[in-house]
């Protein structure tokens, strides 16, 4: 007797599960891609392509094995492919350096949800000027010269503001994480 077909085949369910893992690690993957390709919009394209590969190759990933290691390999490959194809308009690091970075032991953090939540809180604590710089940089994808133009200040002062704001946000998030632990 024919069985009622399941709503989702086993394969589809597996693919969905792998996509879920990708979502969970997406910020870490993005950071990894940005370390090789600092250009946001190109990195966004590469993220799309990584997602496609992850979806296409989902079957070859075994649930229970290390997803970060698996997706990192794909991300690395895609980013290198992009660089080699000469698609990057901005300066990228030499292959030798990327190689050395790739060999570094670094696990993707799985706790990005928590970090993102804390980051939202920390952004509120930034001084208005710093907050605006960060918004222009990360939301509007402007580079320091454009930010300087929009804010009516010099490029070096934008650089200093951005660097201080980033350091503040890092410390703030880590402090809150520590506080949550103890």
């Amino acid at each position: 007797m024919p069985e009622q077909p399941p709503r989702m085949t086993q394969e589809e369910a597996h693919t969905a599960a792998v996509q879920g893992l990708f979502l969970q690690f997406q910020p870490a993957v993005r950071g990894y891609v940005l370390s090789m390709i600092p250009d946001f919009s190109l990195a966004d394209d590469v993220m799309q392509e990584i997602f496609l590969v992850v979806t296409r190759k989902a079957a070859s990933f075994e649930i229970g094995t290390s997803f970060p290691a698996w997706v990192r390999t794909i991300a690395r490959f895609k980013a290198l492919e992009t660089i080699r194809a000469g698609r990057s308009r901005c300066e990228t690091l030499s292959e030798e350096v990327l190689q050395a970075l790739g060999a570094e032991r670094s696990e993707f953090h799985g706790d990005t949800d928590e970090r993102l939540a804390l980051l939202a809180a920390c952004l509120q604590e930034l001084a208005p000027q710093a907050r605006r710089s960060i918004d222009l940089r990360y939301k509007q994808d402007h580079l320091p010269p454009q930010i300087a133009g929009l804010m009516g200040c010099t490029v070096p002062s934008v650089n200093v503001t951005l660097s201080r704001a980033r350091a503040f946000l890092r410390d703030c998030v880590l402090r809150k994480m520590d506080a949550a632990k103890t």
Binding site: Y32, L93, L116, L169
Partner: protein, 525 residues
């Protein structure tokens, strides 16, 4: 140590796409030199990603929900290689005339791989017999992606990821990337330091992923594989039986035969002991060194040998390298300028390293000779100059000799036939490419013969003739002030100082005032 504040500034400039070329170089140097710098870099990049992610929130879910669009086609952008190539060509005039494209007999079927295609260093090759089509590399070679097949012997492969693999023949392994290899058959032992964690070996249907460890793997056929963990942990991936452990710990082993899964204790003894491999290598190199010492004594007594440097027994700061040609007097000894004493072909053998642009060995001989043979054992480490001089002798005189490797890896001989400062003043012989990037770090014997009586010039590499040409003019070869590994840029045609230093090592050099025949050259090999 590095300047942390400076590193932070450079990383910020990199992420904000403001790096200048100089700053990029500075950042790259810091990253290459220090693991701590790489750690900071990766951390800052991750925060950069987190901030971007934060800004994009709301978009992220869209990315997941929407049917993924086809990747955008972005046209290739060609970089301005041409400019760099032109600049390199303009630097020096007369040698750099157009060259005929030539077949390369030495590298037929073994084309030079681009740098990104090389994944490991062949650190040792002991008693190895290569299989047809399975590569034929010497110790020190940079190995490209692809197959290595040996019917016997032992290889030590240092993957660029840091993983060290000992492969026992008969074996076939395919190098796929700096942290991935496919073992088709044979035994390997992999030692993986923490930075290389994740190093993976695959067989027909199993992936062995290292988790910071030392493990052995023995593949006897498509359906027959053993994995032993000597230290740490490995992760097994692939089509495993339900009951199979996914993680395998220290002291444990599994075999998979025809799909049947058996656990048993790891057996270190069934694999090559890295220490024993090292000892075997030392024994082998000692035997070769001893054999060379005997041959070297014979070489020193050959007729018409006027200069022979064996590079033995040199110490840092030694100013003189003795001429060991039989009957030579002290006036023909060499002066060591700058070069550092370093190991030669074997750890026991002495050599001089030529690194700085001023490094050279100067010596002087006198007279003229119709014929000349030069032989050197060299290790080319890179070809940074457009002309990398092995030897230059008797500058500006008719009969002046230039012996060098050009930037494209061709061995070049120049004999000045006329005093005038012009390209046509030189008799020259250029070999096909004999040094590829793959040969950097590898020892080779180079020899060049000028036969004044026959009017022929010949180049030999490792005892094999690679080029020859008739001489249109036969100037007597002028002996005189000579520079080994360098060139005197004093000639008036060079209005500004130019650099033509050799980068690498030399561990044997001989100069004869006659044309040696092919057999004699092969015998010195």
């Amino acid at each position: 140590m590095f300047d942390e504040a400076r590193l932070e500034r450079l990383i910020a400039a990199y992420l904000d796409q403001e790096l200048t070329a100089d700053e990029k170089r500075e950042l790259e140097e810091m990253l290459l030199a220090s693991s701590r710098a790489r750690e900071v870099f990766l951390d800052r990049a991750e925060w950069h990603g987190l901030l971007r992610e934060q800004a994009l929130q709301g978009h992220a879910t869209l990315l997941m929900a929407a049917e993924a669009p086809a990747p955008k086609l972005v046209p290739f952008r060609r970089k301005a290689w041409l400019g760099a190539a032109l600049a390199a060509c303009i630097a020096l005039g007369w040698w750099l005339l157009p060259r005929h494209a030539t077949e390369n007999p030495l590298n037929a079927g073994q084309e030079m791989a681009p740098a990104s295609e090389r994944v490991a260093l062949l650190a040792q090759a002991i008693d190895v017999t290569w299989e047809e089509g399975g590569g034929n590399f010497g110790a020190g070679s940079a190995l490209p992606k692809g197959w290595l097949k040996i019917s016997s012997g032992t290889l030590r492969l240092d993957f660029y990821s840091g993983a060290r693999v000992i492969l026992e023949g008969p074996a076939s392994i395919e190098l796929l990337s700096p942290d991935l290899a496919r073992l088709e058959k044979g035994k390997l032992t992999a030692r993986v330091p923490p930075p290389a964690e994740g190093f993976t070996v695959i067989s027909s249907d199993l992936r062995v992923v290292d988790r910071g460890t030392e493990f052995g793997m023995n593949v006897s056929g498509a359906n027959d594989c053993e994995v032993h963990v000597f230290d740490g942990e490995v992760e097994l991936q692939g089509e495993l039986p339900e009951a199979a452990e996914k993680a395998l710990y220290q002291g444990n082993a599994v075999s998979i035969r025809e799909g049947r899964w058996t656990a048993f204790p790891a057996n270190r003894k069934s694999f090559a002991d890295p220490a024993a491999v090292l000892t075997a290598a030392v024994r082998e190199s000692e035997a070769q060194w001893t054999a060379w010492q005997k041959a070297s004594r014979e070489l020193g007594g050959m007729p018409d040998l006027i200069v022979y440097f064996d590079f033995e027994g040199l110490h840092s700061g030694d100013a003189v390298i003795p001429n060991r040609a039989a009957g030579a007097d002290e006036s023909s000894d060499g002066s060591v300028i700058g070069c550092d004493p370093l190991p030669g072909r074997w750890a026991q053998k002495g050599a001089l390293g030529f690194g700085k642009t001023s490094d050279r060995v100067r010596f002087r001989t006198t007279g003229t000779t119709p014929s000349l043979t030069m032989m050197a054992r060299v290790r080319v480490d890179s070809l940074p100059q457009s002309h990398n001089h092995l030897l230059s002798m008797a500058p500006e005189k008719v009969g002046e000799v230039h012996w060098k490797i050009d930037q494209s890896g061709c061995l070049v001989l120049g004999v000045r036939a006329e005093a005038k400062l012009a390209y046509e003043a030189w008799e020259r012989l250029e070999s096909p490419q004999i040094v590829t990037e793959q040969d950097f770090g590898r020892w080779m014997q180079l020899a060049t013969v000028i036969d004044g009586s026959q009017g022929v010039m010949k180049h030999f590499v490792n005892g094999r003739e690679v080029a020859s040409a008739r001489m249109k003019r036969r100037p007597p070869i002028q002996l005189g002030l000579a520079n080994l590994g360098n060139f005197d840029a004093s000639a008036p045609e060079f209005e500004r100082s130019i650099v033509r230093s050799f980068n690498g090592r030399i561990d044997e050099f001989a100069l004869f005032t006659r044309a040696l025949d092919a057999e004699e050259i092969a015998a010195m090999k």
